[in-house]
Symmetry: C2
Subunit: 170 residues, 2 copies
DNA sequence: CAGACTTATCTTGATATCAAGACAACTTCC
DNA sequence: GGAAGTTGTCTTGATATCAAGATAAGTCTG
């Protein structure tokens, strides 16, 4: 495998730390710095596709989570905020916004009166079905510059890292 | 290289999409989903180290950026918000907070009266020098479960992805 | 079945962020 | 040197987020 590459912004940061704090082994800053930066830049690229549908990232995530559970596209708030890694208070706010936009509705939960279920409306279903197509196309476009070998290596490396980071991941 | 692994949360999401939308090739969702999730989980792990010093992530990032530029630990606001990928308004707010905490001070810029330079105070320097040590140790600890081969592969994959995503990256 | 505990959600108050616009200080170009 | 354009920062107003606490509904035990 070819290991040559052009220096990037993170290399410059590492060089600064080597000069200022030669006592530290800052190598993990390179890995983690690139992870953070890749993720931030990726979110911006993804947002470009969502905004064409008038959706922000969190709106897309909410609707997509409901969509992929399958008919009747309905979940309890706890399932949503656990999956999406936000607090219950944030979820309350999000549900109110999406309900006001007409993309979800709240239903009485016959099995637990503490919950009100969240369900995609027909308009929400139609919207997310179109948006997810554009989203997947956009993702293909973003990753297109990577050749299949590099893409597979990236996939595998991230899976390994995720296994290390995932709560309960051993 | 061993390519076997246990299914993770992202695999489950991909399986849902295959069932619901078999017409879509959702494979990039796996890569990008893991990237996003790794980054989010990583931020939480990093935050644990910062909070021991009473610092939030953005406070650490600000002080560390000033620290690694070397003496006199002084930058113009534009250099800071460009590096840290936030808006100028956010930077104004951050500088006010750090100044109130006594970790930075604002100086007249002799070369450009539109700027007031931001500089680490002695207290800020002392704090970030301690915090960055703990931070680097923490990063080593987080990545320790990865063997050297996997770590190198991750590093290389992220560098390639960053080159693709970085504005002006070709 | 009643009290004690647990769980699911919502409320409240504080913050951090951005977008857009205001404004003053620089720079360019006649 | 001065008008016109550019740049660097701050202000304003709207949002999204979290932590911590409140509240109501479910569950468990004796």
């Amino acid at each position: 495998m070819n290991t040559e590459r052009q220096p990037d912004a993170v290399d410059a940061i590492l060089a600064q730390w080597r000069r200022e704090r030669p006592d530290l082994d800052a190598s993990p800053m390179g890995t983690i710095g690139r992870l953070t930066r890749c993720s931030a830049l990726m979110q911006r690229r993804l947002d470009e596709a969502f905004s064409a549908f008038g959706l922000s990232i969190w709106e897309f995530d909410m609707l997509a989570t409901l969509r992929r559970t399958g008919a009747p596209y309905c979940l309890a708030p706890t399932a949503l905020f656990s999956t999406l890694m936000v607090t219950s208070g944030t979820m309350t706010h999000r549900m109110q916004r999406l309900e006001a936009s007409g993309w979800v509705e709240r239903l009485v939960n016959p099995e637990d009166a503490r919950s009100k279920l969240v369900k995609l409306t027909p308009a929400g279903l139609e919207l997310i079905d179109r948006a997810v197509e554009a989203h997947v196309q956009n993702e293909h476009r973003i990753l297109a510059p990577l050749n299949p070998t590099d893409l597979t290596a990236l996939e595998m490396s991230l899976a390994r890292l995720l296994a290390v980071l995932e709560p309960g991941g051993e």
